[in-house]
């Protein structure tokens, strides 16, 4: 291992390793660097309409109607954050929250800080498409050498489920999704991934990019102390590094409403099967 000189308080990584070397703040004159095995975790979160939102559009179906809509942390991102905080509590380390969004996403970011993230970064831009968002995340990750980059398996607005994979590809790191269990042992992650009709157990070396879902952790609710401390935690706002998009939404449409329900009396339940065969023609 190469020992580099560095200033007190400065953090760096040794070449070929993802381990952190930190100089102790409390003893600024001490030149002996300490090996710090703690994790550095980045959690990428989306700010999305609450799951109970009735979706509507304005401007001739070209704009999402934000009026009266409550925005929340993406439910899958919330699972990722909850697990990140559990890992931090168990193994030590830091959790940074990253959101690509305009200023109106800050309540969601503050809530993540209240739940226990240490600091946050907001890339000041409308998250126009998955590739654009992934490029912002990758640019920040390149500067910071995170051990784990966690996010939800997909955002619940566009349900693309691609950002983790693109980030992994841009960083040359493995990506795994949807992850339903995550444990860290030294520099190795033990992962359970959901597959059709079951699950698989995987093992991979850090650093990794993971798309998360339940039951990786239970959603966390901020407590009063968390809410108070969140106000003063650092939230850095930066401008996007690139503007490339590969897709562009032209307009929106709402699904046609379902026809009226046909009720069948319980004592004639058997007729349902006839109707499914002769009328609906699905069996």
């Amino acid at each position: 291992m190469v020992i580099r000189r560095c200033e007190p308080g400065q953090t760096f990584r040794t070449p070929g390793s993802h381990r952190l070397i930190t100089i102790d703040h409390a003893r600024p004159t001490l030149q002996q660097p300490q090996i710090d095995n703690t994790m550095k975790i980045l959690v990428c979160v989306t700010s999305v309409p609450d799951t109970t939102t009735k979706i509507t559009f304005t401007d001739n179906n070209t704009k999402f109607n934000k009026a009266g809509v409550q925005f929340i942390t993406g439910p899958y991102d919330d699972y990722a954050l909850a697990r990140a905080i559990e890992l931090k509590e168990k193994l030590g380390g830091t959790v940074t929250v990253l959101n690509v969004g305009e200023a109106d996403t800050e309540p969601v970011i503050r809530k993540c800080l209240a739940i226990g993230a240490d600091d946050a970064i907001r890339v000041n831009a409308d998250p126009t498409d998955a590739f654009f968002v992934a490029e912002q995340i990758a640019a920040i990750a390149k500067e910071n050498s995170y051990d784990l980059i966690l996010m939800g398996r997909e955002s619940i607005d566009y349900n693309g489920g691609q950002v983790h994979g693109i980030v992994g590809e841009l960083l040359g790191m493995p990506s795994i999704s949807p992850v339903m269990q995550l444990d860290i042992n030294g520099d190795t992650a033990q992962i359970t991934r959901e597959i059709e009709g079951g699950k698989e157990s995987l093992e991979a070396r850090l650093p990794l990019v993971l798309g998360c879902q339940e039951p990786i952790a239970e959603w966390k609710i901020p407590n009063m102390r968390g809410i108070m401390t969140a106000r003063t935690k650092p939230l850095k706002v930066i401008e996007p590094t690139s503007k490339d998009t590969l897709t562009n939404v032209a307009s929106y449409e709402l699904p046609a409403p379902r026809g009226n329900v046909k009720m069948i009396p319980a004592d004639q339940a058997e007729t349902l099967i006839q109707l499914l065969r002769t009328e609906a023609k699905v069996i």
Binding site: I55, Y158, G161, V163, E196, E200, L246
Partner: protein, 320 residues
């Protein structure tokens, strides 16, 4: 220039969802005046691969390197990217799945391709390349222009009614250079229900919620599913309580499915549950509470006790 379809295998057979993807890809190829090629990775007989022709592919590229036997999104993306390059492909089609989603995302990074997920119709090529995709977990659609040179379409189940024809595809071995860096993830074990109908691919689904009271009562759900050759699904609390495996959980935070028939038993119909199932063609709701919100989103409803109604439905199906 051919349209390339990423087709998946399940125990050596083309998956049903991949057959749909091939059919869709062949239709896009027709629109573009070109042919459809399927790329298949893993072990399978040539005779099985040739059946891709029934769904409209003229050629199958078969990558059978034994290193690729374990599904691996990263390595598969390397193979598909190589196939796309060989074929001069501008449009790649796949059916959404846990493997295809992982593969497609890596492909976006590799090719700087524009990906539209949950596509529900054929593209509109009258002015650029526009697709209709489902967004907000089934609550809306977005007409999206794909502006990148290479386009990837991940289609939702039941996008087109598949019509088979009497044709076979030619099968070519495809052996691109593999990338060691793609094999860093070790698969320790796989735990998968076998022999059952896979939920994401199922045409018919019988689903049950907290109204079933406990895991010991699932026999009546499984009996109806078996009689119909349907897959079983469940609501979120049911998988949270460990009454059923998580892979059966449908809804906002679970699987999004679009079968021909979805039978909901003892499920209240919360908006988060509906989000995962509302694109099913026909929805049947069985609930003892006439006020259950699910009835508003159903095509057929029975106000009744599942413990009485389900066994009778099973008998009626068996009598068909």
């Amino acid at each position: 220039m051919s349209v390339l379809i990423f087709a998946e295998l399940d125990e050596g057979k083309l998956r049903k969802s991949s057959q749909e993807a091939i059919y869709y890809g062949a239709k896009v190829a027709e629109q573009l005046g070109t042919s459809a090629t399927a790329i298949v990775i893993g072990q399978a007989d040539d005779s099985e691969l040739a059946t891709a022709g029934r769904f409209g592919a003229t050629k199958v590229l078969h990558a059978a390197d034994s290193k690729l036997n374990e599904p691996n999104g990263m390595a598969y993306a390397t193979v598909v990217a190589a196939a796309a390059q060989q074929e001069g492909t501008k449009v790649i089609v796949l059916a959404k799945s846990s493997l295809a989603d992982a593969m497609a995302a890596r492909l976006v990074g590799k090719l700087r391709a524009g990906l539209a997920a949950n596509v529900v119709e054929l593209p509109d090529l009258s002015n650029g390349f526009r697709v209709k995709r489902s967004i907000y977990t089934g609550k809306a659609f977005a007409y999206t222009d794909l502006t990148a040179d290479v386009k990837i379409l991940a289609i939702k189940k039941n996008t087109l009614a598949v019509e088979e024809k009497d044709a076979t595809a030619s099968v070519e071995t495809f052996s691109p250079a593999l990338n060691d860096g793609d094999f860093g993830i070790a698969v320790k074990s796989t735990d998968k229900a076998t022999g059952d109908v896979l939920l994401p691919e199922a045409d018919l689904v019988v689903s049950a919620g907290r109204g079933l009271k406990g895991p010991e009562n699932w026999g009546i759900v499984e009996d109806l599913a078996k009689a119909l050759h349907a897959a079983t699904a469940c609501s979120k609390p049911v998988s949270d309580l460990d009454w059923r495996p998580h892979s059966e959980h449908v809804g906002q935070t679970g699987l999004k499915i679009s079968p021909n028939l979805y039978i909901a038993c003892g499920i209240s119909g919360a908006i988060q549950h509906l989000a995962g199932v509302n694109s099913s063609k026909v929805i049947v709701v069985i609930n003892k509470d006439p006020e259950a919100p699910f009835f508003k989103s159903a095509d057929y409803g029975i106000v009744g006790d599942v413990f009485d109604v389900l066994p009778r439905l099973t008998k009626a199906v068996q009598a068909l």
